[in-house]
C-alpha cells in the first residue's frame, strides 16, 4: 500500500531570491512519471521536506496548466524554512502532495472576483490571479487588493503593474506605514473598499493573510451584502501530516489540511474569530 506519508524526490530547477527572506523554489520531480501524474488546483499545498530537518506545508503558486514546474514561494521564518532558504539550484528536496481543497474557481466562473491579501507575497492567492489572468474571459470584473505592513514589504511590483493592464481589472495597494515614494494608499485595505467594482449579488471574494485582517474584511463584505457562502478564506494551522491523521490542524470539527485550507466564511462559523481554535 502506498504510504501517504512518503515524500518523493524533487529537484530545484531554479531558486529565485524575491526579497530578503523570501525566495521561490521551482521544482520538478526527479521521476518523470511522477511529474506527469502530478496535477493540482490553485489553493492546494505541498509538504516540502528538507533532508534531516523536517517537513512544512507550502502553497503551490505556479499555474496548474504548467506540467513541468511546481513553484513555491517561501518566507524564511523558522527552523525548517530558514534552512530551506539556503538550498541552491540543482539540489534535491522531498515533496508530497498536492493536499487539501483549493479555491472554488469553477464556481467562480462568470462571476466578479475580489481578491484581498495581507502580508508578504501571500502565495495562496497569487495562483488564483495567475489562473484568472490566463482565462480572463471566463470571469467578470477582477479586483485585486493587497495590504502590507510597511511599503518596503511590497514585492512583485511588476506583477501588479502587469495585472493593472488586464481588462476589467482594478488593482489597489495599501501600506500601514508608507514612505515618501510610496505612490498608493497609506492605511488599511478596508479604506479602499469604496473603490472596488463588483456586483455583491454575483461575486466570489477570496481572502488570504493574517486571520485578524481576514476577519475584518469578511465582515465588511457581509455589510456590503456579499453572501457568506461566497467569501472564501485560506486558513493556516500547525500541520504535521497533511492527510487528516495527526490532529494538529483541527479547527473545531474541520481538519484544515483535508477539508481546507480554503473554507467559506459560512463553513468557519461559529468559531471564526474565537481565540483558542
Amino acid at each position: 500500500m502506498n504510504s501517504p506519508y512518503l515524500p518523493q524526490e524533487a529537484r530545484i530547477i531554479e531558486r529565485i531570491e524575491e526579497s530578503p527572506g523570501l525566495f521561490t523554489l521551482r521544482l520538478h520531480f526527479t521521476e518523470p512519471k511522477r511529474q506527469e501524474a502530478y496535477h493540482f488546483e490553485p489553493g492546494q499545498f505541498n509538504m516540502l521536506y528538507l533532508y534531516g530537518v523536517g517537513e512544512i506545508p507550502i502553497s503551490i503558486v505556479s499555474d496548474p496548466k504548467d506540467e513541468h514546474i511546481i513553484d513555491h514561494t517561501i518566507r524564511a521564518v523558522g527552523r525548517v524554512s530558514q534552512a530551506m532558504s539556503r538550498l541552491k539550484t540543482g539540489q534535491s528536496i522531498g515533496l508530497r502532495g498536492p493536499f487539501g481543497r483549493g479555491w472554488p474557481l469553477q464556481t467562480a466562473e462568470g462571476r466578479d472576483v475580489v481578491v484581498v491579501t495581507g502580508g508578504l507575497g501571500c502565495a495562496p492567492v497569487v495562483s488564483v490571479i495567475n489562473y484568472i489572468q490566463h482565462r480572463r474571459e471566463r470571469f467578470g470584473k477582477l479586483n485585486i487588493v493587497q495590504g502590507v505592513k510597511h511599503s518596503s514589504d511590497f514585492i512583485w511590483k511588476e506583477r501588479y503593474d502587469h495585472w493593472r493592464q488586464m481588462p476589467d481589472t482594478t488593482v489597489l495597494l495599501a501600506a500601514d506605514r508608507g514612505d515618501p515614494i510610496w505612490p498608493w494608499h497609506v492605511g488599511r485595505v478596508t479604506d479602499l473598499f469604496d473603490q472596488l467594482d463588483f456586483d455583491p449579488a454575483n461575486v466570489s471574494v477570496m481572502l488570504c493573510g493574517p486571520e485578524g485582517m481576514m476577519h475584518v474584511v469578511a465582515r465588511q463584505m457581509l455589510e456590503r451584502n456579499v453572501n457568506e457562502n461566497e467569501i472564501w478564506l485560506s486558513m493556516e494551522r500547525n500541520m504535521q501530516c497533511a492527510v487528516g491523521h495527526c490532529g494538529h490542524c483541527q479547527y473545531g470539527a474541520h481538519f484544515i489540511c483535508k477539508n481546507g485550507p480554503v473554507f467559506s466564511y459560512a463553513e468557519l462559523q461559529p468559531l471564526f474569530g474565537q481565540p483558542g481554535f
Partner: protein, 371 residues
C-alpha cells in the same frame, strides 16, 4: 452467520492455557494483561500464569490501586492505563527513511511490523475505541499503512467486564460493559471458569478445538446477570443531551477558568485515552549524515507546540487547552466520525494527577449542575 449462532460453551479456569496454546499454534503473538509497576499492563504473554489472576483494583479520580481480591478470577478488574491502543497506533513509529547522496535523496518506506497479534482480555470500551481509530486511520481519504497491516492481522479475545471501576461509565456511553462487536471470541468469567462465545469464523475454529462443554442455562444466566450488575454498578454518566451543541454554546463558561486553576496541562488524559489520535512527526538524522529517519510520536493538545504556528501559540493558556480536549472529545467527534470520542473507559479520570473528572465538568458546563 453460523459463527454467531452457536451455543455458548463453558471453559474451566484450568483449561485457559489451552486457549493460549491454540493461538500460539495458529501463529499468533499473544498479548495479554499482566501486573507491572503496580498497574495492569498489556504485553507479550507465553502462559496464563502471567495474567493478573486474583487481582482487583480501586480507582477514583486521581487514584489507582491494585490489590489482591480474595478470589482466583483472572479478569476481575477494570482497565489499567493502556490496553489495545499502543498495539495498533504505536507511541513511536518510524514512517520512512531518506538516504542522502551528492545532491540526491532516496526515500524508502519503513515496513510496519505485521506479525499476527492476538490480544487477550480486551474490554468493550477499547473495542469501541478501536472502531473509532479504524474510522480515523483507515476509512478517510488517506489510509495509514502501518495501522492497516497491524489491524488486518489482529485477533481479539474479549472479556465482558464484571468488575467495573468507580471511574467507569461505559454503560452511559453505550459502549459496555458487555462486548457486542469487533471481537473473535468473548469470555464471561464466573467463579470456576468462562462462558465462551465466538463471533467470527476464526473465533469459531478456535472454539471448536477447546476442551469445552456446552454451557448450562444456569451458567449463561449467571454471566448475563453479572453483566447487568456491572452496568448498574456504574455511578458516573455523561449528560445525555447533544454535547456538541451544548459545549460549543458554552465556550465562555466560567468553569473553563476554574478547571484551568487545577489542570496541570500534563497531557496524561490524552495519552491514556484510547481514542486520542494526535501525533507529531520529526526527523532523526544519523551521525554519519547519510540517512535520516522520519518518525511519528504521540502528541497531545495539552502540549505547547500542538497549536503553534510561526510566532503564535494559539492555545497558550491551560483554559484553552482543556477546552480543546473536551470540545473535541465530546463535541467535534460527532461531526467528524458520527459519535462521541469518549467510550466511557474512565482512564482520564483515574490518571489525572489532580483528579479532574470529565463527566462532572461536562455536566457543569452543559447543564449547570454536577451529574
Amino acid at each position: 452467520m453460523s459463527a454467531t449462532s452457536h451455543s455458548p460453551v463453558f471453559l474451566h479456569h484450568n483449561d485457559l492455557q489451552q486457549l493460549l496454546q491454540i493461538l500460539q499454534h495458529d501463529g499468533y503473538t499473544c498479548i495479554g494483561p499482566q501486573v507491572r509497576d503496580g498497574v495492569i499492563h498489556y504485553d507479550h504473554i507465553d502462559t496464563v500464569e502471567q495474567l493478573p489472576r486474583g487481582y482487583g483494583q480501586h480507582q477514583q479520580p486521581g487514584h489507582y490501586q491494585l490489590e489482591p481480591a480474595g478470589h482466583d478470577r483472572y479478569f476481575a478488574w477494570a482497565n489499567g492505563p493502556q490496553a489495545l491502543k499502543p498495539w495498533l497506533f504505536s507511541p513511536r513509529e518510524a514512517l520512512w527513511q531518506c538516504q542522502a547522496g551528492e545532491d540526491k535523496l532516496a526515500f524508502e518506506q519503513v515496513a510496519a511490523e505485521d506479525d499476527p497479534l492476538a490480544v487477550f482480555g480486551v474490554r468493550a470500551c477499547d473495542i469501541a475505541a478501536l472502531y473509532l481509530h479504524d474510522k480515523h486511520f483507515l476509512q478517510q481519504t488517506h489510509r495509514d499503512p502501518g495501522y492497516r497491516s497491524r489491524r488486518q492481522n489482529l485477533l481479539l479475545v474479549a472479556v465482558n467486564c464484571s468488575h467495573p471501576a468507580e471511574t467507569c461509565f461505559c454503560a452511559s456511553t453505550g459502549d459496555g460493559p458487555e462486548v457486542h462487536y469487533g471481537h473473535d471470541l468473548v469470555l464471561s468469567e464466573l467463579s470456576e471458569g468462562f462462558i465462551v462465545q465466538a463471533h467470527t469464523e476464526k473465533g469459531l475454529s478456535i472454539l471448536a478445538r477447546l476442551p469445552a462443554e456446552t454451557a448450562s442455562q444456569s451458567r449463561i444466566a449467571a454471566a448475563q446477570a453479572s453483566s447487568r450488575a456491572a452496568a448498574e454498578q456504574q455511578g458516573r454518566r455523561l449528560p445525555s443531551q447533544d454535547l456538541q451543541a451544548a459545549l460549543f454554546a458554552n465556550l465562555d463558561h466560567p468553569r473553563w477558568e476554574d478547571i484551568a486553576r487545577r489542570c496541570l496541562s500534563c497531557g496524561n488524559c490524552t495519552s491514556v485515552c484510547p481514542t486520542c489520535f494526535c501525533h507529531r512527526e520529526f526527523d532523526e538524522p544519523s551521525l554519519d549524515g547519510q540517512t535520516s529517519t522520519h518518525y511519528r510520536q504521540w502528541d497531545s493538545c495539552f502540549n505547547q507546540g500542538h497549536s503553534y504556528i510561526h510566532g503564535i501559540t494559539l492555545r497558550a493558556e491551560t483554559r484553552l487547552r482543556y477546552r480543546q480536549w473536551l470540545t473535541h472529545k465530546l463535541g467535534s467527534w460527532h461531526q467528524q466520525y458520527g459519535r462521541s470520542g469518549c467510550v466511557g473507559c474512565g482512564r482520564c479520570i483515574s490518571w489525572c494527577p489532580v483528579g479532574i473528572d470529565l463527566t462532572a465538568e461536562a455536566s457543569l458546563i452543559c447543564t449547570g449542575s454536577e451529574a
